[in-house]
Amino acid sequence: MNANEQLLKIRCENISKTFIQKGNQEVPVIRDVNVDVRENEFLVICGPGQCGKSTLLRIIAGLEIPDTGTVLLDGKPVEGPGADRGMVFQSYMLFAWKTVRHNVELGLKLRGVPPKERQEIAQRYIDMVGLQGFENHYPHQLSGGMKQRVGIARAYANAPTVMLLDEPFGQLDAQTRMFMQHEIARIWEQEKRTVIFVTNNIDEALFLADRIVLMEGKLPGTVKTEYKVDLPRPREHISMDLLRLRKVITDNTELVL
């Protein structure tokens, strides 16, 4: 364990959020959530559908403002979205009118990085996600797994210190999903960042996480427990230690339909 990894990167204090639906109906989405994330930690927020985990991630990203509580990033409160936090979206959210290269370059372009430099940086991350040769393809020419690789490269290229991944593999088939889990683990080893990864898939959580925050399966979402996953990497989906922990977690998760 590196001493650096003990440094506090993000602190969520008493976060609550209520959405007002049509007809003034109040839907409390998360209540009193406290989560700490350490520097370069791979934190997985795991919970069944509709438990407010994506909302929590959007609050950390600054896309939603919490009703109560604050998010502290490096000790400073988050007041809105910023390039210091990169985000990968469940439905890819690529720009259909931009090529792979221009999708990946966009963050740099918005921050005024000169064309030559941003092309070099973009190429590095395109190579990192294994999309060399597809630089000039448009998103509709790519498969789902490849699209999400672009999404990951786009977030990384902007040099964020925190990566927020919102069920990034939720739309992929089982095979591709497993493969992408290996890929994201490889990428994280290669370019260490603080990662917050949201998923509803316990196997995915166990495969990737340093620590799993398990959320309660009904609204408003609250943090149920945390699990430290102290298993060596690279991991196997079917290792005994992993399966043992899996049993503990599934026993603690109620089925919600």
Binding site: M93, L110, G145
Partner: protein, 282 residues
């Protein structure tokens, strides 16, 4: 698990299998079926004309072609065929250009700014359901029977679909795409230029295509009412002098001219939206 290998598996395969020419393949060939449908249509038309089912009001296809060829080297009402085609096309292009240059930005602006929307929407909703042809008479009263009144009707007619599509094109953009720009550190301006405009392009072009066909409808209505030039005038004169060949010839030429102008808009769309070009291949 080699990485390059997996990527290749994920790629969509465009390759087409080549088969030998068989009778079944010829009979089910798209171009063959296209040709069959056109030939059958022409034969039915010719049959109906020969049998005088509509008395003498339907000319035979060949006579229509001869009429069109005749017009290319004989002046009709002081203008040859190209002059008439150009007269109509020019009106369409001027009216359509004015309408799209004003309506598209206005539609985009309405979708982006609630105050502009609040100011323009009621007026737009008032005029939207009014058929453009309803403006023909008032246009003549206001602008006389010259070019202005015709262009005016075309502008009125093609304005509505342009504006409506630009407006809806922006409103239907996935709001999460704006979040991407925000997360990447972009401003409101970046959201508009990198998401809003490009995302609405396809809808804008769909609107332009509809506008163009409305513009041709309007030019015809205007020329039927009062004109000495244009394809509508040829049709009207064909009716007045009982020349079915002239009426049908005019109709065919309008279709051809309208098709050509819509191809121009298509080319423009392919230039401006290159990302749409390959979609049909998938």
């Amino acid at each position: 698990m080699k990485q390059t290998h997996s990527i290749a598996n994920e790629t969509v395969d465009h390759a087409r299998t080549r088969e030998a020419w068989t009778l079944k393949r010829v009979l089910t060939n798209t171009y063959f079926l296209n040709a069959v449908s056109l030939i059958v249509f022409l034969l039915v038309w010719d049959y109906v004309a020969r049998e005088h089912i509509f008395h003498d009001s339907l000319a035979r296809p060949w006579d229509v072609v001869k009429q069109i060829v005749y017009l290319t080297n004989h002046k009709y009402a002081g203008t040859n065929l190209w002059g008439h085609i150009w007269a109509s096309t020019r009106r369409v292009l001027i009216g359509f250009s004015i309408a799209s240059v004003v309506a598209v930005p206005l539609g985009l602006f309405m979708a982006l700014n609630t105050r502009v929307n609040a100011a323009v929407k009621p007026l737009f909703d008032l005029f939207k359901p009014m058929p453009p042809i309803a403006w023909v008479t008032i246009a003549v009263l206001w602008f006389g029977i010259g070019e202005t009144s015709k262009v005016f009707i075309i502008v009125i007619g093609s304005f509505v679909p342009c504006l409506l599509n630009a407006y809806n094109g922006v409103r239907l953009v996935d709001p999460e795409l704006y979040d991407v720009i925000r997360v990447l550190g972009g401003s409101r301006r970046d959201q508009i230029f990198h998401v809003c405009f490009p995302a609405s392009f396809p809808a804008v072009f769909a609107g332009l295509q509809i506008s163009l066909s409305v513009a041709w409808t309007c030019v015809l209505a205007a020329e039927l009412t009062s004109s000495r030039t244009g394809l509508g005038f040829l049709i009207k004169r064909g009716m007045d002098t009982y020349k079915p060949t002239l009426v049908l010839g005019g109709m065919l030429l309008i279709a051809a001219a309208a098709w050509l102008t819509s191809q121009l808009v298509n080319i423009l769309e392919k230039r401006l939206c290159p990302w749409k070009r390959h979609i049909e291949n998938l």
